[in-house]
């Protein structure tokens, strides 16, 4: 047996999971309330080994506050449901170990600030689902006989964007909408720039969404402060790999004289405007369907 003995000897280190000091008691200050207001309520409970913040919230639910509202699903950092602000920082509760927080101090948990509170830690994130309907759909080039071929190297950037778990922490932290509800009308937010970038860089996609990205999705509002990148639990380089390239492509679509000349000579179609792209959005298809028509193919 190769490497048998060292394998058996390599038990995981226990110290990283030790209960935080401070008498072994946790003080959790959790925001409780609804759309009409609320306040922090403090809960005290014993510290246990190896817990994440969501475990502690669940223990409070089970023993002290049965109706404490919290959204969660997988508890493994894969679904992006349990987003909140822990000690003021936007994070996933299921991936934040208690041992990484300052020992002995109270831990505050509040709902994401950019979205209206429903109850306690649960917010109304429907804005995001509305924006999703406005994204012009994937339109692949015709399938050749024998199927599509794509090189691994050509899809890796797209795969980075597909890691998005839609936790909406980037939306929550983006200052364009965090304290400016009015901007939600004309600004899609970092999550959807990632989605637009993924379509823009997809080797099979044929639709030009560049002017739409600027005219309807409002990418110009972003002044690349990188707050979104910092809070992304999936380490997607939102600003560098999605937003900045998108901004460059938007500029190209509008002002590039070489591209303009190329279009003149080669008779390539001009970049599509927002109005032209609109029929490809879920919202448009939905409206058509409600009129009793078939969705466009």
């Amino acid at each position: 047996m190769t490497a048998g003995t060292d394998v058996a000897g390599a038990a995981p280190r226990a110290d990283a999971h030790a209960a935080p000091p401070g008498g072994g008691e946790l003080r959790m200050r959790i925001w409780r309330g609804d759309a009409n207001g609320g306040d922090f309520v403090e809960y005290r409970l014993p510290a246990l080994e190896g817990e994440v913040v969501l475990d502690v919230v669940h223990r409070i639910q089970a023993t002290q506050a049965g109706d404490l509202a919290v959204r969660w699903n997988c508890k493994a950092g894969k679904c992006g449901s349990c987003s909140a602000e822990i000690n003021g920082r936007p994070r996933l509760m299921c991936m934040t170990r208690m041992s990484t927080l300052p020992p002995g101090e109270p831990v505050t948990i509040s709902p994401m600030r950019a979205f209206p509170v429903m109850r306690d830690l649960v917010t109304d994130v429907s804005y995001n689902y509305e924006v999703a309907k406005l994204i012009p759909a994937f339109v692949p080039r015709p399938k050749p006989p024998g199927g599509y071929r794509m090189a691994q190297v050509d899809i890796e950037r797209g795969q980075e964007f597909h890691k998005c778990i839609e936790c909406f922490l980037c939306q929550n932290t983006c200052h364009v909408i965090r304290d400016h509800e009015e901007n939600k009308e004309h600004f899609a937010g970092p999550r959807f720039f990632v989605r637009l970038a993924e379509l823009e860089m997809h080797p099979l996609d044929t639709l030009d969404r560049r002017l739409y990205t600027s005219e309807r999705m409002g990418i110009g509002y972003c002044n690349i402060t990188k707050c979104c990148t910092e809070v992304c639990p999936e380490d997607i380089h939102i600003t560098d790999n999605a937003i900045i390239p998108l901004k460059e492509r938007v500029v190209d679509a509008r002002f590039d004289p070489v591209a303009w000349l190329g279009r003149k000579i080669l008779r390539r179609p001009a970049p599509t405007s927002a109005a032209q792209v609109a029929p490809y959005t879920g919202a448009a298809r939905r409206a058509l369907r409600q009129q009793g028509d078939q969705a466009p193919a």
Partner: protein, 600 residues
């Protein structure tokens, strides 16, 4: 309906994981008015947690692969208890369903010549799983979600269905639920209802399943009078995390073993060589040298025993731990660090790297993981007609994990994601065709709606009653300790006793607070579903006096050839559960030949 919000559709689909979304896409593209109702936000369903890949005989890596080989692997993996027709449809149609995802924007990992790459998994003769690193489920759910949104789907998110509604003659004509946000009731009228609610994992203590997996669809079907089959067949995935305690049960993908990882006990022994059963001996390597060669030479060597089907590996780990040859925290070691380069591990298994680093502070490129069995999947479920997924109740369909039959007594890894696609589509198609082909919408029954909503609200009045969280823990402890990997008659009967008590206590659950986003209330209602499923599993496990696949009886350690021919059928009649062995469909001779030619 007097004061209940009501919506009328052709097709209402309950559950928005892979099966529900695929059914919705199909139903919409056939032109049916379709609603998707889900307990969580869209895109959060348990499908996002699927890791290793989707099984389909594309033949991109091994051209020898085809649907017959996949079919044979699936049936043998399921210890022949599978519904043969479902297994056939699944193997035949899975490749088209995967290629279709690509047309909708999915980005699977590629072969050097630019086609979809496929990886090795347990029980599959050839590398067969199309994948995206180790987050294939996320790719699948997001692709289907975008597709459904593009088609203009109506989604009712965070809406829990409490009961199905019927037309008075037993046929389903809708469903009653409530908005989790406000607690207000909402009724759906439908010509067809598709159940796509997933599994039952939260009934056990250590599970890889997410919050939603409370057996809602199984229970809704049971209450509506439908048959459930093979509920005793649950799968313990061999490799869940065992430490730290809060992460216990979290899935460690089979892809770790597919990519070369091996299992060792505390002595460092690759113990799986000691657990090769006669059933799989002919196709399993018996030396480490042969096993290691297999990854590159499928024809000249046999499969490593670490890649035996999941039931075999889970039992082996269980035995090692019981014999005190386990790891410090009660599991065994899963070692990929000494087998593959750090760079390759991070590229092929990024989520696993991340998960262990963040939750256990273990670097899997340098140290072994500690793993042990975790409840992962239920093979049993609602009895359906293979080609249409129609249940035994009119107007009701079921697809995905909630449906039974496809996987027999044990599911092969990767066959779940393909199941969702193949049968989600067939269910959506049959439901839409029935609705568009002249089925009439019937009036919803006001009195029934009032009854159900009244019942759901009773918990608020049970002052001084049971805490739902405590009751849930007791149910989980009962199932974990008495209806686990290895079962005995005495323990199953004890479980039955305890379920009797728990069911009585569940009626007295008290919910504090009000109806607005109240998790205590949601749990009280989920408990009803979980208890229904726990009853079926326990009673069917008593009835199946043999060991087969995921159902292992210490007192009946061998398979009984007679019991291979029957499904255990669970029904609820006048408040009493019944379990009846009934003949399952017989495989036609031309398919049976696939098994005769290599009894090797």
């Amino acid at each position: 309906m007097a004061d209940v919000e009501t919506h009328q559709y052709d097709v209402v689909i309950i559950g928005a994981g892979g099966a529900g979304l695929r059914a919705a896409v199909e139903s919409l593209s056939l032109g049916a008015r379709t609603a998707l109702v889900c307990k969580s936000l869209l895109g959060k369903a348990h499908t996002v947690m699927a890791e290793g890949g989707v099984a389909a005989a594309l033949g991109n890596v091994w051209p020898q692969d085809n649907w017959q080989v996949h079919f044979r692997d699936t049936m043998r993996g399921g210890k022949m208890l599978n519904n043969w027709r479902m297994a056939q449809l699944h193997a035949e149609q899975a490749p088209d369903r995967v290629l279709e995802l690509e047309e909708w924007g999915a980005l699977f990992d590629r072969t050097p010549d630019g086609r979809i790459l496929q990886r090795d998994f347990g029980g599959h003769r050839y590398a067969r799983l199309a994948h995206v690193g180790d987050r294939t489920g996320l790719e699948m759910i997001r692709t289907l979600q975008h597709r459904a949104v593009d088609l203009g789907i109506d989604v009712y998110m965070e809406c829990k269905i409490v009961r199905l509604l019927n037309d008075g003659d037993g046929a389903v004509n809708g469903a009653l639920g409530f908005w989790r946000d406000s607690g207000r009731f909402v009724a759906f009228g439908a010509k067809s209802v598709v159940l796509a609610t997933g599994g039952v994992g939260k009934t056990w203590k250590f599970t890889s399943n997410s919050w939603e997996s409370t057996g809602d669809g199984h229970a809704l079907a049971l209450w509506a009078g439908a048959d459930l089959i093979d509920m005793e067949c649950v799968q313990f995935h061999p490799t869940g995390m065992v430490w730290p305690p809060s992460a216990r049960g979290l899935l460690v993908t089979e892809g770790v073993r597919g990519d070369g990882g091996v299992l060792r006990n505390r002595e460092g022994e690759r113990f799986m060589f000691n657990y090769i059963t006669p059933y799989f001996a002919a196709e399993t390597a018996d030396t480490p040298e042969e096993a290691d060669k297999w990854y590159d030479d499928k024809e000249g060597s046999r499969r490593p025993p670490e890649l035996l089907p999941r039931d075999e590996v889970a039992r082996a780990i269980n035995t090692e731990v019981k014999a005190e040859r386990g790891s410090p925290h009660g599991g065994v070691f899963l070692d990929i660090a000494t087998r593959r380069s750090a760079e390759e591990i991070k590229r092929r298994l990024p989520s696993m790297y991340h998960q262990f680093k963040q939750l256990a502070d273990v670097d899997i490129t340098a140290e072994p993981m500690e793993v042990g069995p975790t409840l992962h999947y239920i093979m049993g479920g609602v009895r359906v007609e293979a080609d249409t997924e129609a249940t035994t109740v009119g107007g009701l369909y079921a697809a995905g994990e909630v449906a039974g039959g496809m996987h027999g007594a044990n599911r092969l890894g990767g066959n779940s994601l393909s199941d969702l696609l193949v049968f989600g589509r067939l269910a959506g198609r049959a439901a839409a065709e029935s609705a568009l082909g002249g089925a009439k919408a019937s009036q919803l029954d006001d009195a029934l709606v009032a009854d159900i909503s009244g019942h759901a609200l009773e918990f608020f009045g049970n002052d001084g009653g049971e805490n739902p969280y405590t009751l849930h823990q007791e149910l989980q402890d009962t199932m974990q300790s008495l209806v686990g990997i290895i079962r005995t008659e005495a323990e199953l009967r004890e479980a039955k006793e305890r379920l009797g008590e728990l069911s009585e206590r569940a009626k007295k659950v008290f919910v504090e607070g009000n109806r607005s986003f109240n998790p205590g209330w949601h749990l009280a209602l989920d408990l009803e579903s979980m208890l229904g499923c726990a009853w079926c599993t326990t009673l069917a496990a008593i009835e199946r006096k043999e060991s087969r696949g995921g159902h292992t009886r210490e007192d009946y350690p061998k398979p009984d050839p007679e019991l291979e021919k029957v499904n255990m059928v669970c029904r609820l009649r006048d408040g009493a559960y019944t379990v009846t062995p009934e003949q399952k469909p017989v495989m036609p001779s031309e398919l049976r030949k696939l098994f005769e030619e290599d009894q090797s």
